[in-house]
């Protein structure tokens, strides 16, 4: 009995953690290029709503749903929508050298607006009670491994998720490999540490920053898609995504800018996010205090890391600064 509820807890923690993992992996890649993209919460909203729009039009266009198309259309829509958002950010901060914090916050306002406007309008026109459901599409996204049921708790913990959850882990592992083991990853890191040095070494700083930010944005957008298609079973409700985008940014710090650490971190954060539901006998007020946990833990990590001053645990040196070759 006890064991079963622990298995449920872990499974729920993973499901909570996956959107954060997508978001933080995307943000890590972005930050490695020196761009502190505070627009990630907005980008994740847009990723989610683009997926909903894609799924909506596909579901309405056909009677018998082709599983492949039902997955690929929302997926591409989410990637395109969130990459476009990241492109706006890139254009403003890289080409027009605008302040990154201000641009990011504006992007978040804009993105949440876009998400709630289109999601909310679809819900008003075609949905019921302020939300709209993409059940058919969601069922395909949520298909677990066929043998998950037969393996008991083990199957529940490891094999009960939709394909996007596994993709999130693969993407993070790939990002970790790319950043630490490839030449182009080294170049990307050097752009984030010292763009002028990278520039002098012949690295195309602008290209790296653009690509890293847009690809990072697209990955983060998948977090929004996962949330809608898997976590909420395809139901869009305005504002339901909540503050997960900011939590993803917190996770970047918690994982010390390492995508592979982010995998465990996301599950831990997911667990902290819902632990209040699993502790018996909590009053409603102490539940609210428990919800503080992920943020408090992040603050502690932030403080300890800055005190220890270990070089490999620090944020990229030029994080938050625009690069202009002629400036010194």
């Amino acid at each position: 009995m006890m064991f079963a509820s622990i298995a449920t807890f872990i499974q729920r923690a993973v499901v909570q953690g996956i959107p954060l993992l997508f978001g933080s992996t995307g943000e890590m890649i972005t930050e490695k290029s020196g761009n502190l993209n505070l627009g990630i919460p907005g980008i994740m909203y847009v990723g989610g709503v683009s997926g909903v729009i894609g799924a909506f039009f596909y579901e309405r266009s056909t009677d018998n749903i082709n599983a492949f198309l039902a997955v690929i259309i929302p997926l591409l829509a989410a990637i395109a929508g969130s990459a476009l958002m990241a492109f706006i950010y890139s254009f403003l901060t890289i080409t027009l050298r605008a302040n990154q914090n201000v641009t990011g916050l504006a992007l978040t306002i804009f993105g949440e607006g876009v998400g709630n406007f289109f999601g909310g309008s679809l819900a008003n026109l075609f949905g019921e009670g302020g939300s709209i459901a993409m059940t058919a599409t969601s069922n395909i996204f949520r298909t677990p491994f066929p043998f998950a049921d037969k393996l008991g708790a083990f199957g529940k913990i490891f094999f009960s998720y939709g394909f996007l959850a596994y993709s999130a882990i693969v993407v993070s592992l790939f990002a970790a490999w790319y950043l630490n083991r490839t030449r182009s990853g080294l170049h990307l890191r050097s752009v984030g540490e010292s763009p002028s040095t990278a520039d002098a070494a012949g690295i195309n700083v602008t290209k790296y920053k653009y690509l890293a930010t847009c690809i990072g944005g697209a990955i983060a957008g998948l977090g929004g898609l996962y949330y809608i298609m898997d976590y909420t079973s395809g139901v869009w409700t305005n504002g339901a995504f909540g503050d997960r985008g900011w939590l993803a940014i917190a996770l970047v710090i918690f994982a010390l800018w390492k995508p592979n650490v982010g995998i465990l971190g996301s599950i831990l954060f997911g667990g902290l996010y819902i632990v209040y539901l699993f502790i018996p006998g909590l009053s409603r007020s102490s539940q609210e205090l428990f919800k503080m946990l992920p943020y408090v833990v992040t603050i502690f990590v932030l403080i300890i890391v800055s005190m220890r001053k270990k070089r490999e645990y620090q944020p990229p040196q030029s994080l938050g600064l625009s690069y202009f070759r002629e400036e010194r």
Binding site: A106, T108, F117, W246, R284, E288, T298, G320, E326
Partner: protein
């Protein structure tokens, strides 16, 4: 080798920093950007709704200035946003990226509400309000001194720290809401001291928001003087430009950072006070309503000049009010306001490039030269 360099493409243009631009010219660029943004917004609204754009803008104006009540509520919203913008300004000038204004405002709200609920009926009104002022200022200041202390001593990243502090504050507020719930089970604390009105700001000349507006107006002038003419203001500017220079000339950088952050948080606390005691007479996690983030734009758009912030905060509040009026009048989703605000912000943010930099087109070199 030489062939390759001959064939190397010469870029069509390059970008250089402008020496400086006359004031009127830079404002012309900004106004042009806003105009361009309004055209894009109109295009989007028309695309989504098939409405006549002029009609849309007329209803925007109505939303902001349509009636006496609307004008007062416009002024009130400007006052609060301006107050938070003033608060974040000294910190930004010092390059202390305080994006925790939201949490600091909530800390101020919480302190105010606590005073009103716990000792509201036990003290005479002037004493109570004095205690509320002190408590809210202290709470706001505390909320920003914590990150500042770590920033000053260990250079802990303040952007991320203050961001996290927002959520700690939000959860604290929801914690106390469940404790002070009224009526039980409503998940809100209702109007505080509904009958006794203890701790409510008095209305002046029959206008309940007037006192907020006056307080913020005074603060605006004080902040302008503080930043421009006081020794502290000068220190803030020096630390912001270069910490090393500040250290070299013998300033106590740590002290300046903590003091400025405390001031920033204290003013956020005042905004919280104005929101709870002067406006809503209640508190929720939505009381700050994202204005802590909006204030950053207001301050930045005004180039950290408190007097210009009156204009920029007016602009933002006007847009929000106008856009929500559009939403209501044409039965659109409320969130159109955020989309339009976002677009206008993008344009304003982007146009600074043309104020600070110029694009120089390279002349073509002749073949074989």
């Amino acid at each position: 080798m030489s062939k390759a360099s001959e064939k190397a493409k010469e870029p069509l243009f390059h970008i250089a920093k402008r020496p400086s631009m006359p004031m009127w010219k830079s404002w012309l660029i900004r106004i042009a950007a806003i105009a361009a943004a309004l055209i894009v917004c109109a295009a989007i609204v028309v695309m989504l709704t098939d409405l006549n754009p002029i009609e849309v803008y007329v209803s925007m104006f109505n939303g902001a200035f349509g009636s006496k009540r609307k004008i007062w509520s416009l002024l009130q919203n400007i006052a609060i946003l301006l107050c938070i913008s003033l608060a974040v300004t000294p910190a930004f000038k010092m390059r202390f990226w305080n994006i925790g204004a939201e949490g600091q405002v909530l800390a101020g709200c919480l302190a105010t509400a606590a005073c009103m609920i716990l000792i509201g009926d036990k003290l005479p009104s002037p004493v109570l309000i004095l205690i509320m002022v002190i408590a809210s200022i202290a709470a706001g200041a505390l909320w920003s001194v914590i990150p500042a202390f770590f920033k000053a001593n260990w250079n802990t990243n303040e952007t991320l720290f203050t961001l996290m502090m927002n959520y700690v504050a939000i959860q604290l507020v929801s914690f106390f809401i469940t404790i002070w719930e009224n009526p039980k089970g409503s998940a809100s604390i209702g109007i505080i001291n509904m009958n006794s009105q203890a701790g409510w700001f008095p209305s002046l000349f029959g206008q309940k928001y007037l006192i907020n507006i006056i307080i913020v107006a005074v603060l605006t002038v004080l902040m302008y003087i503080y930043l421009k003419y006081s020794k502290h203001g000068y220190e803030i500017a020096v630390v912001g430009e270069s910490e090393n220079t500040a250290r070299y000339v013998g300033m106590n950088v740590k002290k300046v950072i903590i003091r400025t952050a405390a001031l920033s948080g204290a003013l956020c606390g005042v905004a919280g006070l104005l929101l709870v005691a002067g406006t809503d007479h209640t508190m929720s996690t939505e009381t700050a309503g994202g204005q802590g983030f909006t204030a950053i734009m207001v301050s930045w758009l005004a180039k950290f000049n408190p007097l210009l912030m009156i204009f920029t905060s007016f602009l933002i509040v006007f847009l929000e009010k106008g856009a929500s009026e559009i939403a209501m009048a044409f039965r659109l989703n409320e969130s159109i306001a955020d989309i339009l605000t976002g677009i206008i912000l993008f344009f304003i943010i982007g146009c600074e490039f043309f104020v600070n930099y110029q694009i120089i087109f390279n002349k073509k070199h002749k073949e074989g030269k």
